[in-house]
Symmetry: C2
């Protein structure tokens, strides 16, 4: 892994969170890194390959973050309560979105190799939530747990999308609070 490759990946990740896959462009990315647009091609054969690499890395980092949170606390209720904070961070940091939420919106325009990672990101999150929910309530049916995990993931994504179009962190917090009151995050 060269430094240049890593620098491109980092720049692309930041840009993809704000502008999606479509908003990724070699020339701006290169300028940020200090090379020419064409040079990115040496590290990533195509835009699709770059997009897939960025999404894959994002997915991996996210999964690692979730596991770290879980292994540290082992407290399902606490983890579920903290979960929406992960998505809040992107909004705090320049009104960005979760990259895979952003890319889900442009799903039909994504190369297949990127689609796989975007879908995988959601799968990872829902599987993680299901695991935590099961730890809290082992007797709940797998189907009901899956359904709850999906509801949590969709709600948090929707709240982020809504808050973003108003550049309003408070809107995010209040929406999450409404879900909390309804017991969405309570196993």
């Amino acid at each position: 892994m060269s430094d240049t490759r890593e620098a491109v990946l980092a720049a692309a990740r930041s840009r993809a969170q704000a502008h999606g896959y479509t908003g990724l462009n070699f020339r701006d990315l290169a300028e940020e890194v200090g090379i020419k647009g064409a040079s990115i091609h040496y590290h990533f054969p195509s835009k699709a390959a770059l997009g897939a690499a960025v999404a894959k890395r994002y997915r991996e980092d996210s999964a690692a973050g979730l596991e770290k949170m879980w292994s540290k606390s082992q407290d399902p209720a606490a983890v579920l309560k903290r979960y929406p904070g992960i998505f809040r961070k992107a909004l705090e940091d320049g009104n960005r979105m979760c990259m895979c939420g952003q890319m889900a919106a442009e799903y039909d325009d994504l190369p297949d190799e990127v689609k796989v990672e975007v879908k995988g990101f959601a799968d990872d999150h829902m599987a993680f939530l299901a695991k935590v929910l099961t730890a809290a309530k082992p007797d709940t049916s797998a189907a009901a747990t899956r359904q709850r995990a999906r509801a949590i993931y969709a709600a948090v994504t929707g709240a982020q999308l809504l808050a973003r179009s108003r550049a309003d962190l408070k809107a995010y917090d209040e929406t999450i609070e409404a879900y909390r009151v309804m017991g969405l995050f309570t196993p």
Copy 2:
């Protein structure tokens, strides 16, 4: 209003639902309508103007649809129950998104005149939901009602975004069902 202008508007609407504002381009649109790209400028001075016109029309049609549903039924519980079906329709019709949800994801790249309509669409929907909720429970505080309306809108949007990236209507239905069970649609 000429037929051509209407045809461009219709083509642009369909395309924007699938590909967003960025995915709109004059040449493809023109081809669909049977004219040349340059000719669209006779009807819409710029891409921003076209985008704003499309979003505005979409917003107006949507608001009219909500009001029609309400005036026909006057039953808050029934209307709330039917609300998620509106967003389901877009998925049914070629795995499309609600246009303004789609555009919310690319919000930072939108011209101001388009932003106004995207934000207005969400405002319309939340105001409508608040109205219906108030009709059912007049004694609930305005703040609590607003919060619930926001939660409903965000949840439905999130469910749509999730279902879309799997081209899976059942995922949408099951997510909505999870919210229903939690009482999200029950005033």
